[in-house]
Assembly symmetry: C2
Homo-oligomer: 221 residues x 2
Amino acid sequence: MAPTDKKDQKVSLHTVERLSVYRRKLEELSADEVEYIHSHQLAALVGVTPAQLRRDLASFGSYGNIARGYGVKQMSRTISQIIGTDSMQNVGLVGVGDLGRALLSYRGFEERGFHIAAAFDVDPDKVGRVFAGRRCYSLDKLETALVDLQIRILVLAARPEGLQEIVDRGVAAGIRSFLNFVPKTLTVPEGCFVEHIDISAKLEKLSFLSRQQNDRTEVAE
Amino acid sequence: MAPTDKKDQKVSLHTVERLSVYRRKLEELSADEVEYIHSHQLAALVGVTPAQLRRDLASFGSYGNIARGYGVKQMSRTISQIIGTDSMQNVGLVGVGDLGRALLSYRGFEERGFHIAAAFDVDPDKVGRVFAGRRCYSLDKLETALVDLQIRILVLAARPEGLQEIVDRGVAAGIRSFLNFVPKTLTVPEGCFVEHIDISAKLEKLSFLSRQQNDRTEVAE
DNA sequence: TGAGTGCTGTGATTAAATTCACTGTGTAAG
DNA sequence: CTTACACAGTGAATTTAATCACAGCACTCA
């Protein structure tokens, strides 16, 4: 392999987040049978500047045709490869409460290359039952199920109590990635990743933004 | 008002996002009856550098006691004021599907100053029923309910089809903030805000991160 | 009372992300 | 074939975010 291969270069996390957005729009476009698209068109559709879009794509050595633009299908496929969703990945879900069940019945995961292979809960009433086609395992079976089903990512939707312990067990079983819906800070060793989805924090951001604008209009008067 | 009041200065959005995190931790600390905390302690708890924490707090003119640190309760209150959650805000929910119901039964909102005052759905079977204590209105009633209940923020958890139209109606009714769970890009006029929660995108980020690390360890061997 | 300590708040610096602006090229039209 | 055009890719410049590092202060303890 060439030592200066583009893929060896560090891709910024900001770029990766935008790649997800690009890819989703590209799939919509592909469904509408668009074959090629120019940077400024796609940029307008997803709300970034054309220069940024080109930079993002260039960061992994994309080659768009100058006259026609970027090949929609090909770019979508390339992004999948970068992200690692070109093949299906198994995901585990911890906590089959309201949120957990909502996640189980969400069909968007499969479309994007993620399959919830197993659900876990402590509640004996839930263990053994089937939710949205997935059997609920006892948390005691966590380690074995993770290994058997080759689960790479754990989605956390349980109660805050004892969550850190579950994470530790996951780490010990080789899980490196956690998607955390629980409003609680978790600690993981170096090389593991926690993505936190904090719905209230998003609301707070919105609250701040609209308040800030209120203040500004008041001053402007 | 002094023209150079700290509050007039632009606070970065990155800072606002971190303020949410600080505040959550401060409330935990407050529950544990911690009265004062130093920047390096809190910074360690939430995973930022002490310098950044101090900068964030200084951006709105916080005054921590040098010897004791920051007053936990006071800082928490100040952040609430900045964000605008010092008084309860009414929120509307569009779409009472699996996700919508999960959001309705999530108790975290109230704790953080947000009250889901109304739910809306197109499905006649759902209209009129009560979910988690909240009555489900017909979408036809959207405008009147938004005004009557003084709703400032709309949470979108409906189907992608027709969503833009709902947003447009919300904007016309004076809503400026939207929290969007639907994997679809929305357009709003200047001065309105859409926060997008894209669960799959978070999973994709995790997928990228662990893949990146795989590559690195392979190279390192 | 006065020296010592360790903190906050902040100017200065560094690093990162974004945008600007231009070069070279593929395509299409004349 | 030639010319004109519009765009991708990318160094350079700019803007934004994060970190460093220190002045000055509140408290402690001798």
